[in-house]
């Protein structure tokens, strides 16, 4: 599992999860559970399971873009590698430039090729610490921001949009909650890749110059440093390899004979540039090369490896943290539970246009036979008063519905047909919905009584009054009868 394929998978997973949001939730559950069951052996490694999911899932409109990101990533790596080699080579060739007139100043060479590396290494260490050090907060932020690896991000703008957009996921703030460490270590990896190649470039240039020309090194400084001090400094600098490569540690004699002053026409020692002296002055190169290896190449190799390993580590751990990944893992690893109906419900459609208006102040002016439907238990005196207020004069009280038999209902209808009243008032419980047996009852009245009398359905609401919702229910249901002489009224207050 290479880290470049991990980058590709990260980009692909991110885009897949984004697009998958539009897929039907139920379809996703079934699909992912099926994949999850096939990947049970990877259950304990969420990153692996997610990557394998990518290989199996089919999502419409989703195209894998990860390879574009990987291509761009590789291209940027190559650019940094090449740039590092070229700049290292160029700088080393400039520093080791020797025309034969003035020897190469070892102080200059160290100042440009070794000391900045030590300094930058310290900066890298400071920036690499994951948590903030009090008092160094601003510096740490600055160092992270100044990481040259970030330049690669700007370089990516020179590449096609699809590649750029896909890789930019890694550094966009939108994904910071999951990818912040990935971004940091990617930039670190790039900066260390550049630095390592820079050192390789320097060394290649150094070997090339040393091999194909004769070099003379010396040291010169305006500072008041005597040869003993300078030798001591060099000994400190070459301490890491003094046991391993003693020849690469400049001795006091070499330091002594290598000092020169430009005032003195650049002459060394007694002023006679003999072949022997030239050979002696050339002995500096092992020291310089070992210093570059020790303070440049080796630490940069180490920091590159650390950056690579941290980058890879965080890449792996970022996969389950991407937005949508925890849900996907849950879908894969938990049983597929379905409690809903397999098909959506087709509810009965009623004609919602109600033809009956409830008017509390309605005045009917009718003498009515009153039917108590299903034993409402309404207070007789009170209901009579309420009916009177509506212009309904109750003449006789009959009963139907409830625990009476249908034959008894038929008898009630017979007496209704024979009664001399102007209309029929039926008191019903407003909270009980009108059943088809009530509709049957109204139908039977219409069928059997030749005289078309108004039927007034009076909704009784117990002590709570009649709710608007109940009125609506009765209206909607009885409206289906299309009976112009059927009226619905609330018996009592409407709430």
């Amino acid at each position: 599992m290479t880290h470049s394929s991990l980058i590709g998978d990260l980009i692909d997973l991110n885009s897949a999860l984004k697009i998958d949001g539009a897929t039907d939730a139920e379809e996703r559950k079934q699909r992912d559970r099926a994949i999850g069951q096939a990947l049970q052996q990877r259950r304990h490694s969420p990153p692996n399971q997610l990557r394998s999911w990518l290989g199996r899932v089919r999502i419409s409109d989703w195209q894998r873009q990860g390879h574009h990101a990987v291509q761009l990533y590789h291209t940027l790596c190559v650019i940094l590698l090449f740039t590092g080699l070229v700049t290292g080579w160029g700088l080393a060739r400039a520093v080791l430039h020797y025309t034969g007139n003035t020897p190469i100043n070892i102080v200059n060479a160290l100042g440009l090729l070794v000391l900045p590396q030590i300094l930058l290494l310290l900066f890298w260490l400071l920036a690499a610490i994951p948590y903030r050090i009090p008092l160094f907060n601003a510096l740490q932020s600055a160092l992270r921001f100044l990481n040259p690896g970030r330049l690669a991000r700007h370089l990516s703008r020179l590449f096609p949009l699809h590649s750029r957009q896909s890789l930019s996921v890694v550094w966009e703030t939108e994904y910071a909650a999951a990818l912040a460490p990935v971004t940091r270590w990617l930039f670190s990896f790039w900066s260390q890749l550049f630095a390592l190649c820079f050192n390789i470039g320097v060394l290649l240039a150094a070997f090339y110059t040393i091999s194909f020309s004769d070099l003379a090194f010396a040291w010169s400084t305006t500072l008041n440093i005597d040869t003993t001090t300078f030798h001591r400094m060099l000994s400190v600098l070459s301490w890491p390899w003094h046991a391993l490569f003693p020849d690469a540690v400049p001795g006091p004699e070499l330091v002594e004979i290598s000092r020169y002053y430009r005032l003195d026409d650049g002459s060394l020692g007694n002023g006679a540039a003999t072949a022997e002296l030239a050979a002696q002055l050339g002995q500096w190169w092992p020291f310089l090369v070992t210093a570059i290896v020790c303070y440049g190449l080796l630490p940069r190799t180490l920091t590159l490896l650390i950056s690579w390993s941290r980058f890879r580590h965080h890449l792996v751990h970022a996969l389950p943290r991407l937005k949508g990944s925890p849900e996907l893992l849950a879908r894969m690893n938990s049983p597929l539970i379905s409690t809903s109906a397999p098909r959506p419900e087709t509810a009965l459609k009623l004609d919602e246009e109600s033809g009956h208006e409830v008017s509390a102040s309605a005045r009917y002016g009718l003498r009515c036979a009153v039917i108590d439907w299903a034993g409402t238990g309404a207070d007789r005196e009170r209901t009579e008063k309420q009916m009177q207020s509506m212009g309904i004069s109750p003449q006789e009280l009959l009963a139907a519905g409830g625990n009476r038999t249908t034959d008894q209902d038929n008898e009630t209808i017979t007496s209704l047909c024979h009664s001399k009243t102007d209309g029929i008032a039926v008191i019903v419980k407003s909270w009980e919905p009108p059943l088809l047996e009530f509709v049957d009852f109204v139908h039977a009245i219409r069928e059997r009584c030749t005289r078309q009398q108004p039927i007034i359905v009076l909704l009784w609401g117990d002590q709570d009054g009649v709710s608007k919702q109940d009125i609506e229910t009765w209206q909607l249901t009885l409206h289906q009868l299309k009976d112009p002489d059927l009226h619905i009224e609330a018996l009592g207050p409407v709430r």
């Binding site: 510096l139 921001f145 100044l146 910071a176 460490p181 925890p326 419900e345 919702q469």
Partner: protein, 464 residues
Amino acid sequence: MTVPLFAIVGHPNKGKSSIVSTLAQDESVAISPIPGTTVDNRYYPMVVDGETLYALVDTPGFQRARAVLEWMQKQPGSTVDRANIVRMFVEEHHDDLRFAAESSLLTPILDGAGILYVVDGSRPFGEEYEAEMEILRWTGQPSLALINMIGDADHSEEWHSALGQYFRIVRIFDAMTADFDKRAQLLLAFGQIRQEWRDSLEKAVRILGEEQQRRRQLSARIIAETISRMISYTRQRNLGHDEASSEDRDTLQKEYKRELVSMEQQCRSDVEHIYDHKHLERHEPLVELLEHGLFAKQTWKLFGLTRQQLIASGALGGAATGGVIDLAVGGASLLLGAGIGAMVGGVSAWVTADRIADIKIMGLPLGGKQLSIGPMRNINFPYVVLNRALYHHRMVEDRSHAHRDPLILTQTPGWLQTIDADHRKRLEKTFVNLRRQDSLLPELVDALAEEIQKLMELSVGETT
């Protein structure tokens, strides 16, 4: 072993569909005050990885119970033949539209379903229910009566007495307010109907409990991510050389608030989806405290660094250079080189910064003035956001799928004020760390998610 099957039967409009919707967590169940909305039997099986643990059947309500009972009573036969008489009725009236509802609802019962008879306990008992209950008794199937409290009034005592004459087990259940535990208890109670169904129902409850835990975990993660992003969110606007006008500040502040509100709304919607509430209408006041601790600050930047960061970098570079001199003199300078170097580096960075900022590369200045807002410094802000998120989560977690009203989130209880010192300390530490970082650290988000999950458990304990 047969799969436990439960027919939810009763009078129309007494909450049969609400109970099914609650237990099946299916918001697509048609719930309507119009009687006869359920026109046919609908099966709601609980299937776990292909294995059916139980099934609910939502049935149409009785429409002509008296006529049906009269027909049955007219048939010859003794008490032992009653179940057969019911079967005969269904067979004979299978295609009779008059008895379509009764034929439908009796079919699963005759196929062996347990009966869950539902009544509305907030309305008084009526004599019209007797025929229905008698028909169900005739089927001879195991049964349980559920008193569904639809309204505020309480007639449950009256119902208990009436139902007790027909059903061995009578339970009160409010489909609208039942939380997960109550739903689980009801499922377990179904096991009392028939002993052989108990294992299957216990398994179902265990699996649903695990699923509930997973949902909490996912919700906690989403809330943690949102809060982390809200705390650390910043917004900038480059000004170049110009001073920030009050209009610039107002615009930036509005954009900032809008983004925070949008993050919170997205979080709400994500949590609702986790609990399968996909069409929930929500009313929630906007997060308070947005007005406090929010000031658009004008800063200066070069290469993306603030002046402070730039000086720190300059000072460090100078100190390192001076350090070389200290090293050269073998420490005889008593680190004076590093000190002077740091000072020179820092001052140089300060002095030259403006001039460098004016340099343009490809038409773009390297630095300049910038108006920035955030991160939110109000120390109460994350607590307020978390409290709101926990409250919303609780309401969604407990919300029955039978509820079709909007979710109103007006009075947020102050759970966080009651949490113990340890929890508060851990939360505070995480919030401080989140504010301090340049970018979000996933470990901090993980830690916050873990803490939020614990708080979710606590909030459940508080209210139950």
